[in-house]
Symmetry: C2
Subunit: 640 residues, 2 copies
């Protein structure tokens, strides 16, 4: 097949008219715009031209992704799911207990949270590899944000009420974002922000574990690095060597297991089994030497039985509602970001789609239901999902399997954890969060984009020294500022022709590009908005000034025409239109012609509506720079 463009190179140059986009009413435009904002993936396309029963089935599959794969479920898939489910259960139980401690909650809440939410997710969720349950970041943030206002030691009931209320509100917020299809809100936590945030949080979490690892009893409630470190060293009298030895031993064991698994993906089960092994081993040690190791603090009594209902503990009034809302919002966003990022990662490895908005609803409903059954905020965990994936999980049945295992634990095995030492939980947490510190990503940010690296630093130090919400807010602010900066100070470049082509390129970048005599061709590489009109105005005048200086110096032919390459001017507003007119007026006074090349559809439309388009007229608009140059210089030759 010969493309059309090749056949016609020999035809005489022809000028094509720049046309307006097909005219639409305001309502049509609004509809199109809203569809692009809220339904970029056109989820309802597949419902078109379908029978009613098909539509019903599609709708059911849309709401409950379980119906997509359930009809084809078979024994072979079940086998894989059982194996992976048991594997992640062995990880989920010790991690659940540990993370609950991180959120200043009784360990049993961590197990409750590993039972109900995974069941709900398995029906609603669209990721097949996500392992659902409590996660370190959300636990830490919830724990510190609430504990700063309400002490979990002095007011345990109020604290618990706030945890469940915040979890419910996080769920409402998450489901709301999904329902309103505002999923793009979480996109504003850029990768750079997250890399910095995760690293900062991991360092704080690890340092806080020194409490358990050193055996300190009195510890700060704060989460900034300075009070935490102060606490560690001020309480040297509370350090106990037995705890330290046991903690260090198991920490080394766990970190070694992690290294082994990282070096060889097939040995993923080493790090997956290590936490439960450590729990069992350490519990046995403490149990058998309990007379000698009484100074090692242990979990103690844990109630047997299923999740008790907790809907009576949700309080949406009183002076702490603001705190619960704020905590819910922050943990909601953070857990959503983690859950969706993890879901997308594994989906892309297996080539299926995870619908962000649907995931938000699934995670949201799972948290709302969880908050009524004694669970705190949960999401998809990166570490457990990786194990799940490596263990061969095929569907969310692995989550059901894990839930069942947790159920059995809750019903029968709770007394076994009585002598589990708290120090082992600290070691498990450190091993889990250490992977969140991603030096390589940070280094890559530095190499590729200095401003991204700055964002990363802001969130890192913000979290370490100020607080999680403020650290995140600063990082998001820097990210947004970066976008605004790009718009406020857009690139402009003078273009030249590449001999032998119709291509006009940056003179500064392409050595072979040549200035076209009597023309100044400038491209503006951003929308022309109120925020940059002054800049564009001044910069254009400077381009012209510099060109004229160049001509005087090099004895070039006099400047007659300025061509603005509008290809990258993807939008314009009223201030921008005024600026274009102003530049045109100024150039006319100097007998210079201003011509626009390739204005985008909506730019044309706005210029048309404001009546400016007509003033440019037929001779002021061209479809490409090359047509503009050809046509105008031909005109000059005809009328010398």
């Amino acid at each position: 097949m010969s493309p059309p463009s090749m056949m016609v190179v020999t035809s005489p140059p022809e000028v094509h008219k720049v046309v307006l986009p097909p005219s639409k009413t305001t309502v049509q435009k609004l509809r199109h715009r809203l569809a692009e904002i809220f339904f970029p993936d056109a989820p309802f396309d597949k419902f078109r031209n379908q029978s009613f029963s098909n539509r019903f089935l599609l709708g059911l599959q849309f709401l409950f992704p379980i119906f997509v794969w359930a009809p084809n479920y078979n024994l072979k898939l079940l086998q894989s799911d059982v194996v992976s489910g048991l594997t992640i259960a062995s990880l989920a139980i010790p991690q659940g207990i540990s993370y609950a401690k991180l959120a200043n909650l009784p360990p049993i809440i961590g197990l409750y949270s590993s039972f109900v939410p995974p069941l709900i997710y398995s029906v609603l969720g669209s990721s097949r590899h996500l392992a659902v349950g409590p996660v370190s970041i959300a636990s830490l943030v919830m724990g510190t944000m609430l504990n700063e206002k309400v002490s979990y030691i002095d007011q345990p009931t109020l604290y618990l009420q706030l945890v469940f209320t915040a979890t419910f509100l996080a769920g409402v917020f998450q489901a709301g974002l999904g329902l309103l299809r505002l999923g793009f809100v979480i996109d504003f936590l850029s990768k750079a922000t997250l890399v910095g945030f995760m690293a900062g949080a991991a360092i704080i979490v690890s340092l806080q574990q020194l409490k358990g690892l050193l055996g300190i009893v009195h510890f700060t409630n704060k989460m900034q690095i300075i009070p935490v470190l102060t606490s560690v060293f001020q309480r040297r009298d509370e350090w106990t060597w037995q705890t330290i030895v046991m903690g260090a031993g198991f920490l080394i064991f766990l970190l070694t297991a992690r290294k082994v698994s990282m070096a060889n993906k097939k040995l993923f089960w080493v790090s997956a089994a290590a936490p439960l092994t450590s729990v069992i081993l350490s519990t046995l040690i403490v149990f058998f030497f309990r007379s000698k190791l009484h100074m090692i603090s242990i979990i103690g009594h844990l109630p047997k039985g299923l999740n008790p209902p907790s809907s009576n503990m949700l309080h949406f009034h009183g002076s702490y509602l603001g705190l619960a809302m704020k905590t819910g919002l922050i943990t909601g966003i953070l857990s959503l970001t983690e859950g969706i990022a993890v879901g997308r990662t594994f989906a892309s490895l297996r080539n299926y789609q995870v619908d962000g908005n649907q995931e938000m609803m699934a995670i949201g409903f799972m948290n709302m239901a969880g908050s009524c059954s004694s669970c705190y905020v949960t999401t998809g965990s990166f570490s457990r999902s990786a194990v799940n994936y490596n263990a061969g999980a095929q569907t969310t049945v692995s989550n059901i399997m894990m839930s069942t295992t947790v159920l059995i634990t809750l019903l029968f095995l709770m007394p076994l954890f009585h002598y589990t030492p708290n120090v082992i939980l600290g070691a498990i947490i450190i091993t889990a969060v250490i992977g969140l510190i991603d030096y390589e990503a940070a280094f890559r940010l530095w190499k590729v984009d200095k401003l991204d690296f700055l964002t990363c630093l802001c969130s890192f130090f913000g979290v370490l020294f100020i607080s999680v919400p403020l650290g995140l807010a600063i990082a998001v602010g820097v990210s947004v500022l970066k976008i605004l900066l790009h718009v406020t100070r857009p690139n402009t470049a003078a273009l030249g022709n590449i001999p032998g082509t119709h291509i006009y390129q940056n003179l500064h970048r392409y050595r072979e590009a040549q200035k076209v005599p009597s023309f100044l061709i400038v491209s503006i590489e951003a929308p022309i908005y109120f925020a940059n009109t002054t800049y564009v105005h001044e910069r254009m005048l400077r381009w012209i000034r510099e060109e004229e200086e160049w001509i005087t110096k090099h004895n070039g032919s006099i400047l007659k025409c300025v061509i603005l390459d509008m290809t990258a001017v993807t939008a314009i507003d009223t201030s921008g239109i005024d600026t274009l007119c102003e530049i045109r007026r100024l150039l006319e006074k100097r007998s210079l012609q201003l011509v626009l090349a390739n204005p985008a559809g909506n730019v044309m439309e706005k210029m048309h509506h404001s009546g400016v388009l007509e003033s440019f007229g037929l001779n002021g608009l061209y479809l490409s720079v090359s047509e503009a140059v050809d046509d105008i210089s031909t005109g000059w030759k005809c009328q010398p």
Copy 2:
């Protein structure tokens, strides 16, 4: 001259390499970027290659623009300046007194403020037509913001201290913005924001003048529309018909004079002379009928003499410092915006440049000096500058002339204002602010850009119903959101070839554009940033899905290659690069080739630094869509 592109249309198609921009060190890049941010107009270029004495002269001219025109000043210019100076003085004296009342200040402060600041501006300012003095908006905002916390009736001294402190801080802020070359900050008050804000403020100001016009004694301190209207109607017992008749009469006179001047620009002196005429007439009426018109409130005693020093009234401590800072910031920004907009308007009419940053310094220093000599915040007034321009002002000598007239008034004529009725001040204010309501601009916003209109409405209703700072903040928020929305949801379009050219255009917009078989050409019209990576990813997959559906339906030739037109992708960040890689990986799995056409310099650079560029290789990058199509389809023909 024949442009190079015309001579070579017949040469065989050739493929040009996409090159990286000339490599620069991080420091060089940073320098270039900072220069573009802070010195887009390259103000130091003219200092290059100059002798020392020339440099000194240029520097002097740069700091004190008076040296630019002073050497060529002559008698003829002086004549024009004297006439225009006297004209604006006749306007400045009644307006000064009125605006001081608007700021809840003694009328004499308004005259003080029309004396010192114009003198300073005439030395430092670069606009030749700006008439400097108190203005309505800044007076209103300062008056209401301070009076909400400190009553000007109960604590007049504290109120005055706060006014001078706020003025000083406004000056510091303004000069600081100029010195740090952060002038673009005021660009964020877009035209749409200002149209709405001005209209809202004009309505509030006019309604507040009902106090004077109706003769009400007890009036609200607030500036929202509801308390103001409530005050007007609750105090019907205080209305006095003599005041109303006099107010209405002079208001009609002033408005008629304004209409006459607007209909015929040559009669500008009618509206220029009207306020002083009204003041003289009304004073005479009240003076001669003072026994019968005792219910009409009058200005009363005004002290004679020059501005007393007020530097001892500046207080930078205490509980009200925050209030003074906030007020200074808001009035500083507002007066800066007005002054610079006015300066630019008249500069563009007369073809000279007004340097924004320099103007900021001039206005800032003038306010700092003003605050030490009993002046409150001043800037360039639109109405008086227009009169100045029309009266033929040539340089800032007209400001000096005006100052001199005010000086004479202060020294000798103050007792004449004793019987001036307050009602006339209200009429003068209403006539001045009514011009700020710009229906036509609002209608144009609606026609051209619905989102701009929304911004305008937000600031209009925000100012009317909430408060000036919040109304402005909301409007700026909406404007910024608009920029972010454009980045978050960029346009994407499928391109087709326009037969007989190398041009590829939007298939939807250009009927003549034709799909190229086996190719899908998509252009993305925004930088690829963290905020839109998810969207770009989903939207690309949808384009491919839709293209494949179209092919199945129309029995087209199978899709083999996707070309991304990157012309409008003016920047990319690390998330964006990851997304491109991800899309490429997904397409490779489906045996589709992904090719980039015309990637911008900095995009290339970032892809190079992240090591992605190499993975695209030579066959994955083309200088234009047309070269990509030609080369790839030639390749297919060679290897079928």
